[in-house]
C-alpha cells in the first residue's frame, strides 16, 4: 500500500496563502510550525509538510477505509528527504523530492525507494486531468504485470480510495493532481 501527493509550486503560490491568519495553526502542530518558522524557505517547508501529511493520509485510508479532514493529526518529523508521520497509533515513512516546479511526497509503512511518476497536465479541467492520469497508470500496470489493458479496471471505492483490478486481484494505487502536475504510484 502506498500514498502520494504532489504540490505544484506555482499553483500553491497562487491558489493558497499560507500567511493568512490562523492558516498554519489549523494545519500544523506546534513543532511543525516551529520547523516552518526556522526554515530558510518557509513556503517550501509549508508545502513539504503538507504533501507528507496528504501522502500519509492516503496510505492510512487505504489501510483503514475512512474519510476525514484532520491534517494536523498527522504529525511529521523530517530528516533530510526522509520523514516519519504519525497519526494516533499509525506510523509510516515518507520520502520527499523537490524540483523547481513541484514537491512530491510518497508514504509507505516501511522503508522504501520512491517510485511515483510525475506527468505534466496541460488541461486545467479536473475531469480531463483525472482521465489522463488513469490511462497513464493503466498503461504502466499493463506493461509491468504483462496483462492486456482490457483486463484492467480502475476502481474508486465509495470513500474515494483508488485501486486497479487485475482479473480479481485488487492493487492499491495512489494518484495526486495539483495545478499542472499529476503523480501516480503503484
Amino acid at each position: 500500500m502506498v500514498g502520494n501527493d504532489i504540490v505544484d509550486l506555482v499553483e500553491a503560490k497562487s491558489a493558497s496563502n499560507w500567511q493568512r491568519p490562523r492558516f498554519l495553526e489549523k494545519l500544523f502542530t506546534k513543532a511543525e510550525q516551529e520547523l516552518i518558522y526556522n526554515s530558510e524557505n518557509k513556503f517550501l517547508m509549508v508545502w513539504r509538510l503538507w504533501s507528507m501529511k496528504e501522502a500519509s493520509y492516503k496510505l492510512y485510508t487505504q489501510q483503514n477505509p475512512s474519510r476525514f479532514y484532520n491534517p494536523k493529526g498527522f504529525e511529521c518529523h523530517i530528516e533530510n528527504e526522509n520523514g516519519t508521520v504519525r497519526y494516533n497509533n499509525f506510523k509510516c515513512q515518507t520520502k520527499t523530492k523537490y524540483t523547481s516546479n513541484y514537491i512530491l511526497s510518497e508514504a509507505r509503512i516501511s522503508d522504501f525507494k520512491m517510485t511515483s511518476k510525475v506527468i505534466g497536465l496541460k488541461s486545467d479541467i479536473t475531469n480531463i486531468q483525472s482521465e489522463i492520469m488513469k490511462q497513464t497508470l493503466l498503461n504502466e500496470i499493463s506493461t509491468l504485470f504483462q496483462v492486456s489493458i482490457l483486463d484492467l479496471k480502475f476502481k474508486k471505492s465509495e470513500l474515494g480510495i483508488p485501486s486497479v483490478i487485475i482479473n480479481s486481484e485488487e492493487i492499491p494505487v495512489s494518484l495526486s493532481y495539483h495545478g499542472s502536475f499529476g503523480a501516480y504510484v503503484i
Binding site: R20, P21, F23
Partner: protein
C-alpha cells in the same frame, strides 16, 4: 440559521475554490466539497477560515474533521451559532 439562509452564504464562500461549475450550479445539501466540487484539499482550510470569519465562530479540530460536504458544514455552523 435555516437551510435557505445558510446555503447562499456557503455558496459565496466556496465559489472561489470550486473546480466543477456544473456541480456548483446544482449544489444541494448532499454536495461533497472534494468529490463533487473538486475542491483541492489544500483549499479546504481556506473554506474553514472563511466560514470562521463570515460567522464569527472558531472551529476546532473535531469540527474540521467532518467538514467534507455542505450538510456537515451547515450542521457545524449551526451548532456553533447556537452556543
Amino acid at each position: 440559521m435555516t437551510k435557505d439562509e445558510l446555503i447562499p452564504k456557503l455558496k459565496t464562500i466556496i465559489a472561489p475554490y470550486i473546480q466543477d461549475e456544473e456541480a456548483f450550479k446544482n449544489l444541494t445539501e448532499e454536495t461533497d466539497f472534494v468529490n463533487d466540487l473538486k475542491i483541492n484539499s489544500a483549499n479546504l482550510v481556506d473554506i474553514i477560515l472563511d466560514i470562521e470569519d463570515e460567522f464569527d465562530i472558531r472551529l476546532e479540530n473535531e469540527d474540521m474533521e467532518k467538514m467534507l460536504d455542505v450538510k456537515s458544514a451547515m450542521d457545524i455552523i449551526n451548532a456553533k451559532l447556537e452556543r
